[in-house]
Structure formats: structure tokens, C-alpha cells
Symmetry: C2
Subunit: 108 residues, 2 copies
Amino acid sequence: MLEKTTRVNFLFDFYQELLTPKQRNYMEMYYLEDYSLGEISETSEVSRQAVYDNIRRTESMLEAYEKKLQLYDKFQQRMHLIEQLEQMVVSHELKDIDSLIKSLRELD
Amino acid sequence: MLEKTTRVNFLFDFYQELLTPKQRNYMEMYYLEDYSLGEISETSEVSRQAVYDNIRRTESMLEAYEKKLQLYDKFQQRMHLIEQLEQMVVSHELKDIDSLIKSLRELD
């Protein structure tokens, strides 16, 4: 069985534009609309195994794109910095804000 | 003749990992090391026309990736926000900093 993880959802979010319409369709049904492999198989009139293989291949592609572009990794780093920034502003503790902005800038 | 623009350089920076080694090699020689098409043609032992076509195709691919992922566009938007943030901090004018941080967060 394929594991429905947050990571796959994020990777799909970042790289879905690079997938084919068919790949995107299976991924949406399985991950976003929570259809089972059997249900997707019936709706699409292909074997359950074909759906499974397609989704698994797509997941590998998403991981390959992430290895190359690191959009999810950078997103997480950026969100972490933005949270620190918010905390500094809320607590009026601004002494390290310059280096934090610098880190944010260098992330790109 | 191909125009050596900042835009192509940025797009290459963002998407080079998605290119083939050959595409990357021609782009690096032409854009980063400033070789002429004729020089690349000699070094690579292919026709000048083949080098030209390859680079032009690669540029189209970079634009196609940008249309899908908008990494350069988001980068520019983010840099603009970060600059505003820096100015706020330098001038101690923090009243709009919350909405700016929010914009930064929503850009992803």
C-alpha cells in the first residue's frame, strides 16, 4: 500500500505542474480526494495495478524533482525563518533581525 | 544572434538542474563564460548551427519551466519584500511589518 504522507502532498503541491495530466489526475484522486486505488481503477477503467504503478512512479518523479530543485526543503527553511521573524516582532526583540533577514535573502 | 540577457541567466540559475549535461554545458559556455557560438562549435566539434539551435531550444525550455513553476518571478517578489523589510528595520518604521511578513509567508 502507498503511504499517504504530508511530504507527498507538499511535493505534489510544488511540482504538479511538471506532471502529465494523467499523473496529476491519479495523484489528485488518491491524495487530495482520498479515493482508494480500487475506486480510481474503476473510474478510470484501468487495472488497480496500473494505477498503483503510475502513482508510485509519480512519487519517485516528485522526489527526483525535489532532489534537483529543493523547493520543499527551502520552503520549510523559509517558513522557519519567517516564524522567528514574527516572534522577534511580537516580542520587540529586534537585535538579531538583521542576520535573520540576511539568512532569508540567502536562501534563494 | 541570441541575446545575452539577465533574465536567461536567472532562469538558467533556477532550472539548470532540469537540463541535460549537454544543454547545461552549452549554456554555461555561452552565458557564463562568454564564449561565442563559433568557439563553442569548435570546442565541441559540432556545427555552429547545432550549437545555436540547442541553446535556443534550451532557452525555450527555461521559459516553459518558468511558466509552470514561476521560481524567478517569486524570487523577484520575495527580494522586493525583503528589501522593504530591511528598510523598515533600518528606519525603525515597523507599523506595517506584520502585513509585510504575511505577504512573505503567502508567497510560497
